[in-house]
Amino acid sequence: APVKIGMITTLSGGGAGLGVDTRDGFMLAIKRAGNEDVTVVIEDDAQKPEMAVQLADKMIQQENVDILTGIVWSNLLMAVQPGAVAQGKFYVSTNAAPAPLAGKGCSPLYFNAAYQNDNLHEAMGQYANEAHKKMFILAPNYPAGKDSLTGFKRYFKGEVVSEIYTKLGQTDYAAEIAQIRASGADGVFMFLPGGMGIAFMKQFAQSGVETPVMGPGFSFSQDVLPAIGDAALGVKNSGQWSHDLDNEANKTFVDAFKAEYNRLPSIYAMQGYDAAQMILSAAAKADVKDTDAFRAELLKADFQSPRGKFKFNTNQHPIQDIYVREVVKEGDTYTNKIVGTAFTDHGDAYAQDCKM
């Protein structure tokens, strides 16, 4: 039966790299499946919530898509998801995973194929217990930043010597780095996505402060590593996936991605790829118009994820292993290598609030 997928993602402006990887990973899976029944329309949300809503309306009302996907940012997803599920459409998230949608605001039609936002931060909290007693933690001052530090603290048992919220979009971190130097912390956890993280790491490397830095995988994913360069080497970060993960599905994915796009896949590419695989697996067995059947198939997660094992929790967010990775240089490329496992079969803290 035909399935029409509407992908809304960020393809212009500063955040475009993430959307491009999401799209490329997603389309790789679609292409490899060669399923004529599945069609995808893609549009650019320019990282604006209003734009995303408009596109969602257009896709639902005009293009008659069955499934929406692709949004990178929590605030855009928060704008689109309620309307989409209210109009009876599936939403499969490739990245954004704000807490409300995992808890009280969960919906039978809403799946997250990536993680719950807190997962990677929780993993670093867990990992930090191994070697650190006093942590300095910082994140931008917005909901995802707060969730991040909350997630970290949920598992970190040592002392948090300082908890700092920086301005969203800040580019100079001298003041924060000076505080790190003075704090006596033995480790730094930072969640600074995109350009903020690049700036922080470069400045940190120049500062002469030696405290080890760690963070969630998005701050050190393949799309930004080349821009940070040497400054990122040795940094520990968390991820539910890494390109060196040793399993068949992952090898296939990484090789196919490299062959198709001539670059290493980032975590966003993998997430796009998996979201597509998941939809394809359900489409092969059920008609998307039969909502209940289709949902049941989605829930089975019957596909080979490059992550290895993967299943859904009651709130339709993943239960999966979260790894600790280290930034290394392989030849000329900066990339991540798995150095440990923080959690196995890890769900999230909000599933208990989800009443479906």
Partner: protein
């Protein structure tokens, strides 16, 4: 006397109305949504037009009032939905007229505060200080956890309007369209009135205004506040249209876009903002389908418009403005 401009204006308004009705007839719901968006953005820019077009107050922070309106709808609506009381134990409400009133009053308060400080400055300083206030509130909204911060606030059920089912796209369009027409009518009356004359002379030459006994400050402040109120009502409608409100409604991009709408349509023209909104929304909608690089071409189109099509859409359709 029916001038060419009025013929064009009437044609534009009827075209928008007809487009929505035709879309309803053809079952093309999305086009109603587009028409609604045009009406609402047109209203927001009409509000700004009072300050900017008539009063020469180039506010680069009007998105703040748009956002305040949006949050009025979001906050009142979500409290009405959840049944939790707000501060001071006030009840939420899902009644649009009440929400609009609250939006306008909140914007008026903000407008007075911002205006009293900003209007003392002029020219570029004014542009920048309004931008600064907008940035201030923008950062506040981003980090203010109670109503979602940067994630924004969803309105699960569109607020209600007496006697209409607002969830029906055409009904909501008609409400928005009515609001737009009312906004334009308010501007038309103001412009022709003594207040409008005073505002106009203050824009052209403040020294002269003062020398004939018209104190520029209260005139400008009044225009600024009225303008904020209209834009706030548009913001409330916009939140209801998207069923969502977030700080991005207050971003400087939004302020810039409101200015773009006015210039695109024709500065100082009554129907300019609506014409500009129509053009902008259509360009955005169609370019996005054609190419991923749509922003590049949008830039080019805007550039060509400012450089070569002075007077915008209305200048093109209805000729140069006549002053008198």
């Amino acid at each position: 006397m029916i001038s060419r401009e009025w013929t064009v204006n009437a044609a534009l308004a009827l075209a928008l109305l007809a487009a929505a009705i035709a879309a309803e007839a053809a079952g093309q719901v999305f086009y109603i949504t587009l028409a609604t968006r045009i009406a609402i953005l047109g209203l927001a820019a009409t509000g700004l037009n009072l300050a900017l077009g008539l009063g020469g107050l180039v506010s680069f922070g009007h998105a703040v009032f748009f956002g305040i309106g949006g949050y009025a709808a979001g906050i009142l609506g979500s409290h009405a939905f959840s049944g939790d009381p707000m501060i001071f134990g006030l009840e939420g409400s899902n009644s649009m007229p009440l929400i609009w009133l609250v939006a306008a009053l909140a914007a008026a308060v903000a407008g007075v505060v911002i205006g009293v400080i900003s209007i003392r400055t002029s020219g570029v300083y004014f542009i920048m200080i309004t931008l600064a206030f907008a940035q201030m509130l923008y950062y506040f909204a981003i980090s203010w956890p109670a109503y979602g911060g940067e994630d924004g606030l969803s309105i699960f059920v569109r607020n209600a309007f007496p006697g209409m089912n607002t969830m029906k796209p055409l009904s909501f369009f008609l409400i928005s369209f009515g609001a737009l027409m009312a906004g334009i009518a308010i501007l038309a009356v103001l412009r022709g009135s003594r207040f409008g004359s005073a505002l106009d002379v203050v824009r052209q030459n403040e020294v002269r205004a003062a020398a004939v006994g018209i104190n520029p400050f209260p005139v400008k402040l009044t225009a600024f506040v009225l303008s904020a109120m209209i834009t706030a009502v548009a913001g409330a409608l916009y939140a209801d249209l998207n069923r969502f409100v977030s700080p991005s409604m207050m971003s400087w991009h939004m302020s810039g876009e409101l200015i773009v709408l006015i210039i695109l349509g024709g500065t100082g023209r009554l129907f300019g903002p609506m014409a500009g909104a129509a053009l902008f929304v259509l360009i955005e909608h169609n370019l996005g389908e054609l190419t991923e690089r749509w922003q590049f071409f949008l830039g080019l189109i805007l550039l060509v418009t400012v450089l070569f099509a002075r007077g915008g859409v209305l200048g093109f359709l209805a000729g140069k403005v006549r002053h008198g």
